[in-house]
């Protein structure tokens, strides 16, 4: 099956992809967007400053809702950060060739999303300057973290994931950085790309070592795809809170993460291929494949919702049932309906091939899924906490401007990093696409 449109040789592939950087199109638009994102990043800095100066109280968190938007956003970003490794590692091992066109981009997205996610657990501490107490380090008081706490597992899971994702992304980049070095026109570009290309010469020995290392990392990264979000889900599942205390959470969260990650890839890839004229490499068939992934994961996630309801009912426990019903009837019900619309209903249209290949439908549905997955985390975190065991302690949570500020700030940070990425690094894998172009030309 051909995944590349048109007639391409390694030379044309290199020229087209390196050209995005060396003869950048849409410079004005890029600067405008970068400026806008930079303003957003400034806002992020202000939000963090206010938070550190005045305290967690600037957020809307209260008793009983001790976790608010910060944790919602953490889980949301981590979820988005799932697609990269999944595409890179699992699809690589599963020999899904269509991944070649999107893996670099998805990996970068993963990295930036995890960076954004990583901010939240640190900042949401009451005393963030003591975050390192979560790490087991030798100290005079012989204090050790509490290994029973899911937050400790979380701490390790997320930091491992970030490290491996970074390595994987960089390892894949090395041959492409060498291409950039060779094609660069100015001295400084050559030097910088050259530095990061680690002296790559493209010899057979280089390639053989690289391929082995890449495969090895893929094998290492694969369990991480499952582990990170499983462990994030344990933050909730290991607690007593009705709506959290559920054994289905790990697979349910992993499915949701892949779902939201793919949705974000689709959301970003559509304008990208259009702006940089990459339709040859990211074809409608790629979009179709991703839409199928969305459909599959949507159904998995919907199964999770059904299971939650069933378990609540089957438990016969009033707090569980009450929490489940409150999702449909309570103050947060509109948010729950958005969740069902975005996550369960809208993706069903992908049963129709026409919808899978219609750019507009894809874009709208993927954005809906992004929103839906955010509301899902809101419902899980906030609604569950607001409606616990003792009705006397029920209370709602309303985000404040600083809750939203931090969220908007991380969105800006994400787009800021993405913009830098598309401007300075090859957005698609030159080496892998070249290989694919050669292979396809032989077919």
């Amino acid at each position: 099956m051909k995944w590349i449109e048109g007639r391409h040789t390694p030379e044309t592939v290199s020229a087209r992809i390196a050209g995005v950087i060396l003869q950048p199109p849409h410079q004005r638009l890029w600067w405008q967007l970068l400026g806008l994102s930079a303003l957003g990043v400034l806002w992020l800095v202000v939000s963090i400053g206010v938070l550190l100066y005045r305290g967690i109280g600037v957020w809307g968190v209260n008793r009983p809702v001790g976790w608010g938007l910060a944790i919602v956003n953490f889980v949301w970003w981590i979820g988005i950060g799932h697609a990269g490794t999944l595409i890179s590692a699992i699809l690589l091992l599963a020999r899904q060739e269509w991944r070649t066109s999107i893996n670099r981009f998805a990996e970068a997205m993963t990295l930036f999303a995890v960076c954004c996610a990583g901010l939240f657990p640190l900042l949401h501490l009451g005393r963030p300057w003591y975050f390192y107490w979560l790490a087991p380090y030798p100290n005079r008081m012989l204090l050790w973290p509490n290994w029973r706490s899911p937050l400790i597992w979380d701490f390790f899971a997320v930091s491992t994931y970030l490290t491996v994702s970074l390595l994987f992304w960089y390892l894949g980049l090395v041959p492409d950085l060498a291409v950039m070095r060779d094609r660069a026109t100015s001295l400084w570009q050559r030097r910088i790309y050259g530095f990061f290309a680690l002296g790559w010469r493209g010899s057979s020995r280089h390639w053989s070592v690289h391929q082995r290392a890449y495969l090895l990392l893929a094998c290492l990264a694969t369990p991480l795809v499952v582990s990170v979000h499983s462990i994030v889900s344990l933050d909730f599942a290991a607690a007593l809170v009705p709506g959290w205390h559920s054994t289905i959470f790990p697979p349910f969260f992993v499915a949701g993460a892949i779902f939201s990650g793919f949705a974000m890839v689709v959301t970003l890839v559509i304008p990208l291929r259009y702006l940089f004229s990459l339709q040859d490499f990211i074809t409608e068939r790629h979009l179709d494949a991703m839409a199928k992934m969305l459909l599959l994961t949507s159904i998995l996630v919907s199964y999770g919702y059904l299971c939650e309801g069933f378990c609540a009912w089957y438990s016969g426990l009033r707090p569980e049932i009450s929490t489940a019903l409150d999702r449909f009837q309570g103050v947060y019900a509109p948010i729950y309906w958005v969740l069902l619309l975005g996550n369960s209903l809208a993706p069903l249209c992908f049963f129709w091939p026409a919808a899978r290949r219609n750019i507009r439908v894809l874009l709208v549905v993927s954005v809906l899924i992004n929103i839906g997955m955010w509301t899902e985390r809101f419902i899980i975190v906030v609604q569950s906490l607001s409606h616990e065991f003792l009705p006397a302690a029920w209370r709602l949570y309303t985000p404040t401007i600083w809750d939203w500020g931090l969220y908007a700030g991380t969105l800006a940070l994400f787009s800021f990093l993405m913009l830098l990425f598309v401007r300075f690094l090859p957005v698609l894998s030159i080496s892998e696409l070249s290989k694919q172009a050669v292979e396809e030309s032989h077919e």
């Binding site: 009451g126 963030p128 107490w133 204090l143 065991f389 003792l390």
Partner: protein, 867 residues
Amino acid sequence: MLTGALGRRTFLQLLSGGALALMAGCSPRPRGELLPYVVAPEAGEEQQIFATALPYLGMARGMLVESVAGRPIKIDGNPSHPASLGGSDIYAQAALFDLFDEKRLRMPLRSGRPAAFRQMLDEVKGWLGAGAEGLHILTRTVASPALQAAISALGARWHRYDPIWPVSLACRRPAHLRAPLQPCLVAFDADPLGMHPEHLRLAREWSALRPRLYVLESTPTLTGGRARQRHGLPPVEVERGLWALAARFGMAPAPEGEVRVEPAWLDRVEAELKRGDGLLLAGETLSPQAQALALRLNRRLNAPVDVLPALDQHLLSPNESLHELEGALQAGEVKVLLILEGNPVYERPQFANYLSRAGLTLHHSRVANETSQLCHWVLPASHELESWGDLRAYDGLLSLVQPLIQPLHQSTSGLELLARLKGDERDGYALIRDFWRGRPWDESLRRGFLEGSHSRPLEWSEREPGAAPAPVPETVLIFRPDAGVVDGQLAGNAWLQECPRPFSKLVWGNAVQLGRATAESLGVANGDLLELKVGQQSCTLPAWVEAWQPEGTLAVHFGFGGERGGYDVYPLRAEDAWQAAVGVRKVEGRVLPISTQAHHQLDGRAILQTEAAAVEVDLYGEKAPSESEAWGMVIDLEACIGCNACTVACQVENNIPTVGPAEAARGRELHWIRVDRYDHGERVDFQPVPCQHCENAPCEKVCPVGATMHSHDGLNQMVYNRCVGTRYCANNCPYKVRRFNFFDYWGRGSKGEAPSPPLNLGWFEGEPKNPEVTVRDRGVMEKCTYCVQRISAARIGADKENRAIADGEVVTACQAACPSQAIVFGNLADSGSRVARARSDRRNFALLGELNTKPRTTYLSRPNEVD
């Protein structure tokens, strides 16, 4: 010595000299002879306990004040004082706040400017000359014989007013009706467990007796909350109910027309009363005729009601009223007007129109208020904890008010001020000693009161009750004192402001309470504004739906408005009226009153276990408590009256800051023990919820840094220093008892969010602190510790004597305060301890025990009455 360079020795000499000078300046002790409480527990030199008396509704309750290094830090009931019996209430607990209140006046002010006290004396002399002609004094109820004598001695005209006259009008002269509680009680708009000068004694008796209580009332009261059968009716229908009951005993004509009280209730009460041992309680808000009828019925039932003379016999005599003063002012007869305490301009708004007619006005007050703004002179008044005096309790028992500290500011007590006006320069101690000459002083001071000094019952005949009042068709507005700030005098007290009102759970303000159907008919929900119109006056308040407020009535609580927060409803109130016909309409706008509890329904959960619960089978095996000590608590839900004394006592003991209205509105109040209210069926239940100290604690498992863990004696401990503030423990606590410092609520570094300006009552620096308890930082979790500092103190004491801690040696702050003794604390490992015995009661249950948290705090359920 200082000529050369400052050498090491010289430096040390100067340092020690300076330190000595500083030490001499610390701990101002009051002058005069201070005698510690007679059976004070043995303690170091630092800590001492003194007996004194604090007023509530103007009358004394005996208190013991703990003083550390010369500073009062905690107040609890005096067990030997008959008016408190060791229990206390939120007002006593919070009195320390008023003492250290930053808003207190610091020096005499003449027209708002600091001035010398002597200048005031000269000015008064200038107006009056040698005599006392033209001197008028306005007071509230005065229950202090020394002060009464001093006022009389001055030869001035004495006027009295009070927003709450705590006297019965059943007889022809103002009286106090006092009776020991009986096994069957019938209350008509009476609140012996709440707004009653003797509520501590009554709560204790109630708890010991657990009488069968039947209540008709027009606003929800703590007493109604404990009733077997309680009906809410408009005030006039409550009275008609009393007549209907009296008619069944042939004591009064049956009320004409339809009576709204249910015949079943009347049947039941009649049958109960006919069995004997019954007592009727008629509230002082009822008409004098109704009160008289109740007294007559009590006499018929042979209920042991004593008629005691009111502490101030001239209380209601017409020529000593506020009206008379207004007349005198109008006629220009008043040269000098001295207002002792109180705030008549606020409580009787029309009085402001007359005040300017006096030649010279003096206001003796602890804080500046509406009245002091209109007076020429404002004289700072001493707090009861810094002045000498005496005070009678409800039953007339003469109690001594003993200072714990020298006046913090240039203030005088009322006694001293009156003496100065007479040219007597002696201090309060000398004055009270002089007044008490011939009475046993040392003994009374140690004990806190003069034994055998209570009033003797009188044989006064009651008024003629006459016929029942006619029904009132229109909507009635009911005025009541607020449960927190009472008449507004305590509105500066942040502890009281932030103490949730027992029923509404409102803090930092008031609202108009109305029943569900009434709210629906007006089309309002919580927070919608309602305009109330009484006569020419109108006032707009937010609505608050209260399931127990009788339909067709609205209730407002006075004591708010302006800087106090909330809304001032005194302008609607004509004189001392407790109700008024009202016009009400909805107006645009919404102001949601601040409440700490939004849901009162049980939602089908067995939280109170009013029915016997199925036996829980524990699949995980019993974890044996520690062999030597296993601290535990049992809270009797049947005994709990919902008064919140535990909440405030805990706040004082454990240095819990108030968070202010803005933060309270966000649900961030820090009380370590809260009292939940649940409505179910005809019942209201209160459930105090402190940390349950679970043996299998969900909070401990989830803390990533191990900041909360178990002690050897079973306490769930919180290590503030280690806490990084993930709030995971609070999320995982099913009881929601963990509190978080979202801001720096103590205001050190002032990073806390400033409260909204009109409610800035200055609580940051003013709140006194317990030196035994750590003050928590921003970003740190905190919660009930079972008063670990008290456990440690007891352990140190026991270790010194090489013995185990005895049962009852550790008393938690909530337990000590509880007037109805609903809380028992002790060692569960000691099978003979009170707490272990309480835990083996068959009413004992663990809250959310099905979660297998194995709480150390358990409850005794309040069963459904079996009829």
